[in-house]
């Protein structure tokens, strides 16, 4: 793990709102690596939790009221439960305070658009916490596509899923009202953002999930994206119930590129049609700088800090994310029930 680099520049002082798992496991470890960033305060309605994390990560100010932040804070990281992303972010933006809001940016497109408008009106930075944009692997895929390394694009597949054991501290994650949905808005916020970043806007989508009245734990999208020169078809499968391959693969006429979604530097490329597992066919041209997930979060915070310090456009500004938010909205609106083959066989209909 990289050490925090010393710097003489004044540090950007951030407050983190919400002391759940994302703050403990992602933002605070990332901040420790970013010399330009100082976490000036932690906020959580559970003061003991804020205090505990403060002591662990060397943050000496904590509060249970986000309206009582220290006056010298330059920006906030909004890692509150999903349903508080939009209202609290808008409140800060209206005060002229830059915000890095965790994903999902909002519960729906209407909220997201209101956030973007608030940032635009006040001329305040609004960055969305889609940290995979800072992964070397995701960036090299973007470059490969932009520079046409793969040739004409044929198809893509994304699988991302694991038997869920994220150490959530509260049940908001499983509430439609508070989380906005299930695995689609959770993992899908990352995956769909990457796909739209790589392959362009949505042309069409068909969507299935396994919600039986609650939030979905498994879903599938059949997507058509605009592509570089012509539309490209693909599928996305996301799950909280099964361990999937966790890979994004894009097949081109010349080459196929394959990226481990959850690993920042795992990218493979090989001539389309050859054996993907045969090292003789692998290309080593995709050599990536080593990067841990802490490094990725540090990169995200640094980018936010640079925007605050120097002004200019955010690294992942709210308006860039509206496409994937709209796509998620559309999926929920047009959802069909995913086939659960063990519950529906030979005409036996067991589904709700």
């Amino acid at each position: 793990m990289a050490k925090k680099e010393e710097t003489n520049k004044p540090r950007v002082r951030l407050a983190i709102l919400g002391c759940g798992a994302a703050t403990e496991l992602c933002h605070l470890p990332g901040a420790k690596l970013a010399a330009e960033i100082e976490i000036a305060a932690l906020v959580d309605k559970n003061m003991a939790r804020a205090q505990y994390l403060g002591k662990r990560f060397g943050v000496d100010r904590w509060t249970d009221d986000y309206r009582q932040l220290p006056v010298d804070v330059d920006g906030v990281v909004n890692a509150l439960p999903h349903h508080l992303h939009a209202p609290v972010t808008i409140e800060f933006l209206k005060q002229g305070m830059p915000v890095l809001v965790e994903k999902p940016m909002a519960l729906n497109l209407r909220e997201a658009e209101t956030m973007v408008r608030a940032a635009s009106v006040g001329g305040v930075a609004l960055q969305v916490g889609l940290m995979y944009r800072f992964c070397n692997g995701a960036c090299i895929v973007k470059r490969a596509l932009d520079e046409g390394w793969l040739g004409g694009l044929r198809s893509f597949t994304v699988e991302w899923g694991f038997v869920y054991d994220w150490p959530v501290a509260s049940g908001f994650f499983f509430s439609k009202e508070q989380a906005g949905g299930g695995v689609l808005i959770d993992l899908g916020s990352h995956v769909l953002d990457l796909l739209l970043w790589w392959l362009g806007d949505v042309v069409d989508v068909e969507y299935w999930d396994d919600s039986l009245g609650g939030v979905e734990a498994d879903c599938k999208l059949s997507l058509v994206l605009k592509g570089q020169t012509e539309p490209i078809n693909g599928t996305v499968v996301l799950s909280r119930l099964r361990n999937l391959k966790n890979r994004a693969r894009i097949v081109g006429d010349r080459f196929t590129i394959d990226c481990d979604i959850s690993a920042p530097t795992s990218v493979r490329m090989w001539p389309t049609g050859s054996d993907a597992e045969d090292p003789a066919f692998m290309l080593n041209s995709v050599s990536l700088q080593r990067q841990s997930l802490d490094d990725v979060y540090a990169g995200q915070l640094r980018a936010f800090g640079r925007t605050i310090a120097a002004g200019g456009k955010s690294a992942v500004p709210g308006e860039c994310v509206l496409g994937s938010v709209a796509l998620i909205d559309r999926c929920y609106r047009e959802r069909k029930t995913l086939e659960m083959p063990w519950m529906r066989l030979e005409g036996k209909v067991d589904q709700v």
């Binding site: 496991l25 992602c26 869920y164 054991d165 994220w166 150490p167 959530v168 501290a169 509260s170 049940g171 994650f173 499983f174 299930g182 695995v183 396994d210 919600s211 039986l212 009245g213 609650g214 939030v215 979905e216 734990a217 909280r240 119930l241 099964r242 361990n243 999937l244 966790n246 481990d260 979604i261 959850s262 690993a263 920042p264 530097t265 795992s266 841990s292 997930l293 802490d294 659960m340 083959p341 063990w342 519950m343 066989l345 030979e346 067991d350 589904q351 709700v352």
Partner: protein, 397 residues
Amino acid sequence: MRRIFITGATGFIGGRLAEVACQRNISVVGLVRTWSHAARLSRLPVQMMHGDVLDPDSLHEAMIGCDEVFHCAVDNRIGGDAHHRVSVEGTANVMQAALDLGVKRVIHLSSVAVYSYRPDPHTMTEEGGYRYSGDVYCDGKIDSEKVALLYCQEHALPVTVLRPTIVYGPFGDYTVDTLALIRQGRMVLVDGGRGVCNGLYVDNLVEAMLLAALSEQAVGKVFHISDASPIAWKEFIEAHAQAIGDSYLPLREMTTQEIVAARAQMSNHPISSLEQTLRLIRDSRARRALRSVPAVERAVGVGKTVARFVLPASARRRLRQSLLRSSSDVQIAKQAESPRPLSQSEEFMITAFDKVVFRIEKARRVLGYDPKIDFAEGMKRTTAWIKWAQLQGGMNT
């Protein structure tokens, strides 16, 4: 509207009960101890209440307004006193809350494990006596059942006890553990697999639970719940092997004596502490026992979280694969010739109750229980789930 409360709602049986109950427009309240296990349950229109069977206040609050209680909670991840405490004290807390709130019916999910894994050979009716064996799960089932029946006898709490047999099906531990042994190349047919497997497809059990809660005659009674007819362990195991590929067949056959001898031979070979550790990690039941130590449980949680963030998924898969399958090149070679023999707990798992047929006439007569899903249909559904869950190969569990 019928409103039921389920402990163990995030588990295999409680989770399926919740699905079926929702399908029948029954209002469901599910007790959730660990939010991170709630993904499957959260797909349903259930009211999830955070709580713990060891926390009477949380139970009381969650149970308010419920007509029926289905007590399915058991913690198989832990062993020793902690397991026993969840079983016995947890059951007492559930019964007390039900009594305090005037719940109309309580279904206590016990197990035929109250007779131990190796009851004497005969056809067993519900009148067979308890048999303590020293196994934490079996003995815990006896003591928790006694608590539930005591509340019925002394406090007139309307309790019914169900003793299911070998419950299998989608999301089930028995299915997942059986597949793991097959994939590791360690599964054998003990004594040709001719012993009796009292299989029970999970949906048949759920049907029995819902029937029992409506039967006035069932109060204070105990029922065996099993499929309509038992099969042989060979049939059960081979059907699971077929679900992940015919290449795993035929399975080796070993006698009990040969397995015992193989274990003895293995124990005569001094092994490194690393290998000992890896063996423990590979043995699911040993893992559960280890995790009964709170510090180990915490360390495992931290380790998994750290691994997810620090290691690429491919590296995690490789690490897990190497942990589960081998400890060194030498060990790989050794295992290729002679796979590690079944541990005693694994042997029990695939031979449990193999000399006994559990009769279900009482459940048929009193509850109107009529298990409609036979083994062929149960495995067809289970196989469909196995394929969906991508459990056929690799180390996806």
